[in-house]
Structures are given as structure tokens and as C-alpha cells.
């Protein structure tokens, strides 16, 4: 089975764009959100480019069908950004939609069939209320077993958390540190849905309590706040509100080109050096609930293609739909031995000033998780970090040359890992 795979030719990223993430009014269409990201991408291409150079368009999206009653979304988006008549493809792999779309765009360019491909993702979730959104998301679960068991996505990841706690002694507090860290990073990202740290939340909540004539809350630390069940209620034990990513709207996109053309767009392209993807069973059928096999397989493929190992990665974007997912990702990607990730988080190793910064944009927790936009949204951040253009949240690691993006669909029944290098 083990086969060494490589790209048919080199592929580079030369532009990246992101809309502001957040809850947009109902009248804002999915298609218009993508325009926001595309305009941002246009301004990111150092030497400028003519969009008529784009050969094809790949779009990741979970369900404009259910969220907005619109299907055939890819040509509709292409229409808004002047790409007609290029071929368009919509990809749905749950929350990994645009991570997979990115990989497919890379494979298409590497094959030689296209030279310049626009790939992105978009989701407009907030037209529906939270229970309706939960139901749409649950349609990625097994309708014969998981749905009738009453499982929700928080429930699924909570089940993994309970197993991780039993096997490795992981605690609720360990998970809270991940939320604290990602909100700190998000507070440095003006495009984040919640661009506020937990300290900022505490100040706001304390002010509003005083305004209402209630006693001033007595939290001494961010952890006190996280342990306060009024502020941070249980959603699916052991996961609480601040363990869950946000429901929001947003779009992201990336310009992928053949390596030999990269200098026409910029003097500092980022190269795609590894890509891997795998599928997995529904949760119960797996051998281990404390790890995602598809993530390990996808990572192995990507590392082998890139001829690097986990120790070479300087910055990573991992799929923190729930805090436990970030912890498991750190172990599945080989950054830490199973059971060792929690200590590293507590020691600050994954903060922007740590030795392996993770989710520097705030992650899905703080930046937000507009499902289809998340995969390429991660690539946007890696592009910025490797080019040292991340501003206040630029990592402190010297010579950030290798970045990794890990994007999970549903409970890990799809995982895609992409590795990037600046030369």
C-alpha cells in the first residue's frame, strides 16, 4: 500500500484573501461574501494579476443548499468575480471542504492541466438559528446510528474527550488553556469573529454586571472565568461553550500557480511541498477514540512527500472545531507523543511566542468556523506567517520556513494535511 507520491510539477501559492469573519446580516449572500475574500486576495498579489489568467475555480462549501437554498454555487460565485467561463468545481467534504478543494487545485496544477487556479471556501451560516444550524451540521453524522443516539457535533467530540481523559488523564482545565490561547491569538487578528481575549470578555462581562446593579464578579484569572459555569456553561460534558468553535459567516481564497510561473506574481511565493488526505469510519467503528487515524495517514503522506518530519514544522494551523480536536491534532500530527500535548499547551509552547505556535489567527475557536471557508482560511494564515506579514501576531520563531495546515471533515471521516515552504 505504501507508495511514495509526488507532485507532477512544483506548485506555489502567490496570493491569499480572507473576508472579515462574523455574523453578517441576512441579506448578505454567500456569493457576495466570497467577493470580499477575492478582493483581499487581489491586493495580496505583490505584482498584481489579471484575473483572466485564472484557468479554473475550486470552491469548498458545506451546504449553501440548506443554509441559503442555493445550489450550483461554484458558477454563481465565479459569476460574481468575473471568472465566467472558466470551469468551476464545488467540493463538499464537511468541514474539510476547502482544505480538500485546495489539495485538488494543487493536484490539478501539478498535473499540468491548469497553470493558474483560484481555490477558496465560503459559508453563510447565520441565516438559520442555532438549533437549525446544529441540525444541518448533524447531517454529516451517520443517520442510522449517531443521529438517533442523540449525538451532536459537540457530543461526538465530547465522547473523544472523555476517552482521552480516561486514557491520558487529560482534564477540563487542559482544554480551557487551549481556548484561552486561541482567544489571545484571535485578539490580535482584526478579521476574527471574536477578536477578543478571555481577559477582554471578563472586563466586558464585569462591566455589564455592574451596570445591571449586580455584584462585581470575582474572577482573578482567565481560568477562574473559564471554570465559572454561568459564563462558560456545559454544552456536551466535558465540553463547554468556550471549547466550541463559533457559528459564523466568512470566505477565504488562495491563488495557486505552477511553480515556474510564480515569479510573475511575486518575489516571495510559498511552495506546496506536501499534501495528504485520508478517510475514516464513523466514530464508534474506530479502533481508538483518542486519536484520528485519517489525520495520521494524511500527515504521513504529506510529511513523506515533503521529505520532512513533524520537528521541522515552525507554525501550524490545526482544526480546532473543539478544543479537544486541537489537542488530538497535536498528537496525530506527531508534534507531541500521545498524552503529552496538554503539558505543552500549559507551558505556552503553542502560543505565538512559543516554540511551535499553533492557530496563530485565533483558530476556529476565535477566528471563527464558517465551515466551507475554514480550510483555505488556514492556508491564508500560513501564507502570511511564512512571509512574515502577520503583523501583531507574527510568530517569534526565527526563519519560519515550514508551515502546516490540518483540516478535518466531520468527526475525522475526512482529514487533509498540506505542507508549505518558503525558500
Amino acid at each position: 500500500m505504501a507508495k511514495h507520491r509526488k507532485l507532477g510539477r512544483g506548485v506555489a501559492v502567490v496570493g491569499a484573501g480572507l473576508s472579515k469573519f462574523g455574523a453578517y446580516p441576512k441579506g448578505v449572500r454567500t456569493t457576495d461574501l466570497f467577493v470580499e475574500a477575492f478582493k483581499d486576495l487581489e491586493s495580496s498579489v505583490d505584482k498584481g494579476f489579471d484575473s483572466r489568467m485564472i484557468d479554473a475555480f475550486y470552491l469548498g462549501n458545506l451546504s449553501s443548499d440548506l443554509f441559503e437554498s442555493q445550489v450550483h454555487l461554484a458558477p454563481a460565485v465565479a459569476n460574481r468575480i468575473g471568472l465566467v467561463p472558466v470551469p468551476t468545481v464545488r467540493i463538499e467534504d464537511a468541514c474539510a471542504a476547502s482544505g480538500v478543494a485546495f489539495r485538488e487545485a494543487v493536484i490539478a496544477v501539478a498535473s499540468g492541466i491548469y497553470d493558474v487556479v483560484l481555490v477558496g471556501g465560503v459559508e453563510k451560516m447565520t441565516n438559520l438559528d442555532t438549533p437549525q444550524v446544529t441540525e444541518v451540521l448533524a447531517s454529516a453524522l451517520d443517520p442510522d446510528t449517531e443521529v438517533p443516539a442523540g449525538l451532536t457535533f459537540p457530543g461526538i467530540y465530547a465522547t473523544m474527550a472523555t476517552a482521552h481523559m480516561a486514557k491520558h488523564g487529560t482534564t477540563e482545565e487542559d482544554l480551557m488553556w487551549i481556548g484561552i490561547k486561541n482567544h489571545y491569538h484571535g485578539s490580535l487578528n482584526p478579521k476574527a469573529h471574536f477578536d477578543v481575549s478571555i481577559s477582554d470578555f471578563m472586563k466586558k462581562r464585569a462591566e455589564s454586571a455592574v451596570k445591571k446593579g449586580l455584584p462585581k464578579p470575582q474572577w482573578h484569572t482567565e481560568l477562574d472565568f473559564m471554570k465559572d459555569s454561568k459564563q462558560n456553561p456545559i454544552i456536551a460534558w466535558p465540553l463547554r461553550l468556550f471549547d466550541c468553535s463559533t457559528i459564523c459567516d466568512g470566505a477565504s481564497c488562495i491563488l495557486v500557480v505552477a511553480e515556474e510561473m510564480a515569479k510573475e506574481f511575486t518575489d516571495s511565493p510559498i511552495f506546496v511541498v506536501g499534501t495528504g488526505q485520508a478517510s475514516d469510519y464513523f466514530l464508534a467503528e474506530r479502533d481508538d477514540l483518542t486519536s484520528i487515524q485519517a489525520a495520521k495517514l494524511a500527515a504521513t503522506q504529506a510529511y513523506e512527500m515533503a521529505a520532512i518530519g513533524p520537528k521541522d514544522v515552525k507554525v501550524a494551523e490545526v482544526h480546532d472545531c473543539f478544543t479537544i480536536a486541537e489537542l488530538i491534532a497535536m498528537e496525530d500530527l506527531g508534534f507531541y507523543e500521545p498524552g503529552k500535548a496538554a503539558g505543552a499547551i500549559r507551558d505556552g509552547e503553542t502560543r505565538i511566542d512559543g516554540k511551535l505556535p499553533i492557530n496563530t489567527d485565533g483558530g476556529l475557536k476565535s477566528k471563527g468556523h464558517p465551515i466551507g471557508a475554514s480550510g483555505t482560511g488556514m492556508v491564508v494564515e500560513i501564507f502570511k506567517q511564512l512571509r512574515e506579514e502577520a503583523g501583531d501576531r507574527q510568530i517569534k520563531v526565527k526563519d519560519p520556513d515550514i508551515g502546516l495546515a490540518h483540516n478535518v471533515g466531520a468527526h475525522g471521516s475526512t482529514v487533509v494535511v498540506n505542507i508549505f515552504e518558503r525558500r
Binding site: 442510522d144 446510528t145 443516539a149 449525538l151 451532536t152 472523555t162 456536551a236
Partner: protein
Amino acid sequence: MALEEKFAEVENNEFYSAAYQRFLAEGKLIGSRCRTCGHVCVPPKPICPGCHGGEMVLEEMKGKGRLLSYTVITVAPPLMVEEGYDRNNPYCSGIVELEEGAKVPARIVNVNVRNPEKIELGMGMSIKYLKIGQGNERKTFLAFEPTP
């Protein structure tokens, strides 16, 4: 073969979804066992995920197992809200490993949902079929409870 017969054959295929649900309504938890490698799956699968062989036989599970993992859900999906579950009335869902080796997600009943940290992993579980709803809407849900 007439088209109707073909459709009926697909609907009645014991390795497909409709049959699994029908058996559940009769109070039977059905799985498949691979004749070649012995791998057991619940619900049944037409093709073995263990050896990729296609010689599968249907097998009724005995309904005994142990609790592998669980959660107690306070923010319920519409299906559970209709049954009266919410923040003040949370419910437990989990994964049970059956004696036959297959693992299934199920509702976990008769456990103390007010103290989720006290629910014991590894404890023995016995099957229970929950009948919910009235008339045509009546459905059977797979549940397990601690073995006394």
C-alpha cells in the same frame, strides 16, 4: 425482473439501512459477520471493512457489552428537544462495545446525568429498545443501560 420486484429487493436487502431499522423496531439489533475473517459490524455492511470480502452473514447481537465512552448533552438537537431534553434535562449518549466485538453509538439510560464525571467507563451494559412517539410517528431507538 419487474422493476417493482427490483425495488422491493433493494428495500428488503438485509444489509441495507431500511432492514436495520425494521429489525430494530422488532426489538432486534442486527449486525453482519464476515464468513472469511469473522469481522462483525453493526449496522450490517454489504462488504467487509476487515478483508474487503463480500460473503457476509446476518447475525443478531446478544445485546450485552461495555461502555467505551460517553457524553452528557445539555444543548440538544431538535430530535431530542421534541422528546423534552434541554439544559435542565440533559441526556447521555455513548459508545458501547458489544460482546461480539462491534461498537455502536447509543443512548445511555438509567445513569446519573447530573454527575457525568461519576459515570463509569468500562461498566457492563445491557440493551434496551426505546419506543418513542405515537401512531405512525412511533420509532425505536437503540439504548443501553447499566447491567444490574
